[in-house]
Structure formats: structure tokens, C-alpha cells
Amino acid sequence: MIDDLLYLLRASLNTLALSLISIGISTLLGVLIGVVCAFRVPIIPILNAIFVGFVRGVPLLVVIFAIYYSAPAFGIDIDPFAAAVTGLSFYFTFFVSEIVRGAVGAVPRGQFDAAYSLGLTFWQRARLVILPQALRSALPPMINTWLILVKGSAFASVIGVWELTTASTELAQRTVAPFQVYGASMLIYFAICFTLACFGSFAEKRLRFQT
């Protein structure tokens, strides 16, 4: 009983690893793409819009399946964990980029002009003037996206990554107590996600009046 619970907790460490790596990659790429889009660089906004439309319309499960089962057709040997990280990172990059694009767009135009007239370079303008203001309004929805990513990491189980959902299925078959096992697994997911959600609403309250 205790052993089984420890087994689930150990698996949830893998869920956390999978989620954290994907959160890192997608946030980094998403912020980069979002900022570049907001600065009116040619072509990239169009590509961004296409991918945003794609991830909004296609289920994450399908994207993960497609990456894992299509990679060999292109001669790429991919292991389940890498496929899951790729799928999650790709999918959520474009949720983050859309949030950041909107947040940068909401920074008053005068700030851009003022930074420009001070003679700051593109990256100085982005890093010192625009991003600190934009990330304030972008952070709460971004944390929400991370929460959705953690829940989405459960899809890694369908391609055989050993994480919380896979471990729960194993354990449910072994102990023939699916009700308790999946119940426990939901509680662990809840503990992770609810912490993130609280963090998100805290950030929202803290950052609301300071822009």
C-alpha cells in the first residue's frame, strides 16, 4: 500500500521532469517568437499565426502521436520521452507566443517611441523597456498555460513514457484496484496543478496595479 503510493510518487517525479523541461523550452521559444512578432518583423508573424491556428485546432494527443509515429518515416530515431518533450514544447510554444504578442501589443505606443528616441538598440528596447512591462500582464495567463501543459504531459503515457499516468495504469492492472489508484493519481495531479493555480492567482493580484 505504502509501496504503491511511493511508486506513484516516483512516477510523478518523471511527470514533473517532463513538464519542467517542456515548460522551459516552450516559454523561451514562445517569448522569443512573441516579441519578434510584436516588433513587426516580416514573415515571422505570418508563420506564427499559421502555427497558432494549427495548435488551437488540433488536439495535443494527435500532435504527440504524429511526432512519435511519423519521425521514423523521415529517418529520425526518436525515443518516447524526446517525442513527448518535442510535442509538448512545440504545442505550447504557440500558446505562449500568442500571449506575449498580445501583452507586448498592449504596452503603450509611446514607450516604444521613447525607447527609440533614446537611441537604444532593438534588444535594449526589448529587454529594458518593453519586456518588463509586457511580462507583467503576460505572466498570469502564462502560468495558466503551464498548468495546461502539466495536465497535457499525461498524454505522454499513450506513447509509453513512464510517468504518473503510465504508472497508474500499471499499478491499476497489478493491484486490480483502479478506483483507488486512479483516484490517488488524480490527487497527485491536483496537488501539482493547484499549487501552480494558486501561484497564478497570487501573481495576478500582485502584478495587477503596478503597470
Binding site: V62, A73, V158, T165, F179
Partner: protein
């Protein structure tokens, strides 16, 4: 060759589209109605009711749907309730999205400003007329984008039913990938189905937004 495969896949997936749409439609209807009930309770006077709704919404929002589906499909028989894969998928989709709909309604009604309620009172509208002419149109126009996203999300979530052997689009596509080495063609066709389905929903919602635009 590849075009022929694409056409073949599109044709083979067509029967599964019906099942996916049926699943999405049934869950959307139930979730939209029950969600409204929960939203009314969460606006109501009973403190216990408000807390229970909040607990329900928070728990369902913070756990993955795929685990909920496993819980319903594998767990309920353990309690002596036999459910078919379709029923389990429908039940868990409806349960999860009831929570999301309740949140959307709650936010929508809270957003209608006190000013417009006061203004309605000042020109002598009754409580019922205020609700019918002022509060509901304003709330609906504000909720429509969120409701649109929600329905799209439900359609996307029907793909999870493939993990408990409901023969919807994603499961059929998985079967088809076993017949060919060009799996990416199968997934491209599958993605097209979801994109078109969700595109139609978005268009419908845009039309609805125009219809209610007078309230803004």
C-alpha cells in the same frame, strides 16, 4: 500515390467523424446546461452550495482529463456500475467541461457592471426585464468568445476517447497507420478533420457574436 493514400484515409475516417461529433455534441449540451446550474448555485445564498461548486470546479480543472476518463472507465465497474467506452468518454467529458462552463457563466455575469443594472432600474425596468434586456445580452456577448474556445476544446478532447477504445477519429487514424509506412499522411488527414471541424465552430461563433453585437 501519396495523394491517393490521403484520399483513402479521408474516406476511411469519415464514419469516425460521426462518432466524434456525437460525443462532442452530447457532452457540450450536458456541460452547458449543468454548468449553468452550477453557476446559479455559485451566485446563490447558500454558503455550502457555493463551496461545493468551487471545490468541484477546482478539482476537475486541475486534473488531466485522460486520468479522469480512466477513473470513470476502469473505476466505475469496480463499484458495480458497468459503462461502455462511449458512455465513459461522454460522462468524463461532460463532468470536466461542466466545470469550465460554470466558470465562464460566473465570469460573464459578474462582468455586467452595476452601472448598467442601476441605469436599468433608473428607467423603471422590472427585475425580470433588467435580466432579459440588459444583463443577459451583455453577459452573452462577453461570454461568446470563451464559449467558442470551450466548444473547440471539447472537440479536441474527444480525441482522448481513443485511449479507452471509442472508435472516433484518432483511434481510426491509429488503426490506419498500421497499414502504411507513410504515417504522416494519415496524421495530416486527421489534423485536417479537426481543423475543419473547429473552423466551422469558430465561424458559427463569429456569426453569433454579430447577432448579439448590439449589446456592446
Amino acid at each position: 500515390m501519396q495523394l491517393r493514400l490521403f484520399v483513402h484515409v479521408v474516406q476511411s475516417l469519415l464514419p469516425a467523424l460521426g462518432i466524434a461529433v456525437e460525443l462532442a455534441l452530447a457532452s457540450t449540451l450536458v456541460a452547458a446546461v449543468v454548468g449553468l446550474g452550477l453557476a446559479v448555485i455559485s451566485q446563490g445564498k447558500s454558503r455550502l452550495g457555493r463551496r461545493l461548486v468551487k471545490a468541484y470546479v477546482e478539482f476537475l480543472r486541475n486534473t488531466p482529463l485522460i486520468v479522469q476518463m480512466f477513473f470513470v472507465f476502469f473505476g466505475l465497474p469496480f463499484l458495480g456500475i458497468q459503462v461502455s467506452p462511449f458512455e465513459a468518454a461522454f460522462l468524463s467529458l461532460a463532468l470536466q467541461h461542466t466545470a469550465f462552463f460554470a466558470e465562464i457563466y460566473r465570469a460573464g455575469f459578474e462582468n455586467v457592471s452595476l452601472k448598467s443594472r442601476d441605469a436599468a432600474k433608473a428607467i423603471g425596468l422590472s427585475g425580470y426585464d433588467t435580466l432579459r434586456l440588459i444583463v443577459i445580452p451583455q453577459a452573452v456577448i462577453r461570454m461568446l468568445p470563451a464559449i467558442g474556445n470551450e466548444i473547440v476544446q471539447i472537440v479536441k478532447d474527444t480525441s482522448i476517447a481513443s485511449t479507452i477504445a471509442v472508435a472516433e477519429l484518432t483511434l481510426r487514424a491509429r488503426d490506419l497507420t498500421e497499414q502504411t509506412s507513410a504515417t504522416y499522411i494519415v496524421f495530416a488527414a486527421l489534423a485536417c478533420y479537426y481543423l475543419i471541424l473547429n473552423g466551422v465552430i469558430s465561424l458559427g461563433l463569429r456569426f453569433a457574436e454579430k447577432t448579439f453585437a448590439y449589446a456592446e
